[in-house]
Subunit: 379 residues, 2 copies
């Protein structure tokens, strides 16, 4: 098959609001619904890039904030771009940097022009405007770029949420102008509006009018209950163009993923599987297992003997327990690997279930096995 | 070929005092001179066991002190032994635990019977006698076991060195009795005597009389200059049985290995390649490279484009520099992998050179390339 020269999205099957399909672009195909492992600082932590690819991940996420500070955007361009730097040939999505400016940096000041902040690494001063964010993402070589937005932590007052949503809309337009026409690459807009339905709808409609290549829902998984997050997805979904991919940013647990997919989400990213893997937590077909717990000390069973992932299938829980208790790097390597494998397996399971028109059954079976195993562990 | 049922050592070629050959035992063949990666707490830090094997390592070392404290010797036996626990099918050599009792534990008290100490992890009290050390190594399932000895840090007075050497000899005899006859496994004695030639010779001769399966030289690389270490090897070597393997414990730099091999040493272990890999240091054909140094920030060359190791050949120095500066786990993974690959490559190079009768040339060429590359970096 000839390599596609442009960015396109096609839906192959639907099941209720859920859909499965693929994004095609010059660097490869992204099967959806897709989970994107997070490669914050040009590395999916504790994983070789070949392992990430072999798990079936089609796309990884890079964090603009981290990369602009180290190694730096212009330096990255001189080095041949992020793909070459981190040895990832497939598509890369980069966030705008805005979220981490707000959560990690010091002395930030936000106005219409953008945001001024100091690096959390060395205190140097930086300015990020919508235009500079797109410029940086271009220097990195990102395939899917995100608009700069303002994300409000919930709970928050309507006035603050509305102000941030409208600013994000104006920034979306400025990002669109800066991005221009880049065949084979995509700029995504980000729906804001907190937990307020009419603001979410206004944001979604205004972004849809900009005719971007895809749409993210931002400002969720920032402290609100899962029910609020799901309600916001249901509110927004009818107002997003059905022919464009929908990306729920920063989400989430395996259950979050299933609930969001069944409400029409196509793409996810989250640090949860990688971060949990560095803290002794395993996500498995049998639920979430805390390897630090003494109950595993003499358990010679693997996490899941039916898994295709060596970390999951070949190492005993007793050994994983020992590695976690001993703060051994191999423990982090194996649990991160296991967790990303499980997340990819879950996405593949959902894609197959949607194609077969049985997503609800798949979700029910998955949760039943979590509950069964959890009860067994509690017994 | 049928699996050997006993432990045997054969020398295939010699070149001056250097020799190359193989240890055969039921769990596999160890080509000598051999470098044994250190798997302190049942893991060669930051490496999957398959990677260690694929680098050509035939044997790994486990630390009795660490393993007796966590997960515990009796627990390890219940779990099926160290090989199964850490997924290493080849031979495992364990130290006696004595060295780390003296360097890591608190409130240690040493007498004729053995050593009493408190765990550095949780302060629990433990006793280690020669008999218990061998018992623990048996519970772990170790293939090559080391006698308990007392190792004196240099510089030290003759009286202290002599006392420790004689105690170590008495403990060797007790370990031999406890070990008994174990076909397919081996107990090694440890030559002590500090930097005092007549004590070293006395120790070596007395141990040779015990007719053990192999002999280690202990108590070196404990703070003395390289010249002292090499002089002690030269002193001891003529008094060790030529038909038994000789193991220099805890050594060393690539140059140490070459100097010791040319003086008749067959086996080594050292944390240097793994520890250095976690601190941004790469051992390569081009010498030791500190990846933390800013000079590497835009260097797109790999550590060695001719290497068979992916870590060495496929990742740019700029990327490794970035990972090290960012304290990324992948940086430790890649540099550990590189370092162990280089150590194994160096040993393979020496084995081939000895077979070809050109070890001195090999050492000269290796050091010339280090010097050339070092001068280039300094320019």
């Amino acid at each position: 098959m000839p390599q596609p020269t442009d960015f396109s999205f096609s839906v192959h099957a639907t099941d209720g609001a859920a859909r499965t399909g693929a994004i095609s672009m010059p660097r490869g195909k992204i099967r959806t619904p897709a989970f994107m492992p997070v490669g914050t600082a040009a590395t999916v932590k504790a994983m070789y890039p070949e392992q990430v690819r072999d798990l079936g991940a089609n796309v990884v996420l890079g964090n603009t904030y981290h990369l602009m500070l180290r190694p730096g955007a212009e330096r990255m361009e001189r080095l041949g771009g992020l793909h070459r730097f981190m040895r990832w040939d497939g598509p890369i999505l980069t966030d705008s940097g805005g979220f981490q400016v707000m959560s990690l940096s010091a002395l930030r000041k936000l106005d219409e022009k953008g945001v001024t902040f100091r690096s959390h690494i060395d205190g140097t001063a930086h300015h990020m405007s919508p235009e500079r964010s797109i410029e940086i993402q271009g220097l990195l070589g990102s395939d899917i770029q995100m608009q700069l937005d303002e994300c409000v932590r919930l709970p928050a007052e309507r006035e603050a949420i509305e102000k941030a949503m409208r600013l994000s809309l104006r920034w979306a337009e400025r990002c669109r102008v800066t991005f221009g026409e880049q065949p084979g690459k995509a700029l995504f807009g980000i729906v804001q509006g907190g937990d307020i339905p009419d603001l979410r709808i206004e944001s979604a409609r205004a972004l849809a009018d900009l005719d971007l290549k895809g749409y993210a829902i931002g400002g969720l998984a920032v402290g609100e209950p899962q029910a609020v997050m799901l309600a916001m997805i249901e509110t927004v979904e009818p107002h997003l163009p059905a022919a464009k991919p929908r990306y729920l940013m920063g989400v989430g647990t395996p259950d979050d993923l299933m609930q969001a997919v069944s409400r029409g989400i196509d793409m996810f990213d989250c640090v949860m599987p990688t971060r949990a893997g560095r803290h002794g937590l395993a996500y498995t077909r049998h639920g979430r297992i805390n390897l630090r717990n003494a109950r595993h000390a003499e358990d010679t069973r693997p996490l899941d003997e039916q898994s295709a992932c060596a970390a999951t299938r070949d190492y005993s829980r007793a050994y994983l327990h020992h590695l976690v208790r001993s703060d051994e790097i191999l423990g982090m390597m194996l649990l991160t690997w296991n967790n990303l494998a499980y997340y990819q397996e879950l996405m593949a399971g959902m894609r197959a279930a949607i194609s077969a028109g049985r997503l609800a059954d798949f979700i029910g079976e998955t949760k039943a096995e979590w509950a069964r195993a959890e009860a067994e562990r509690a017994a």
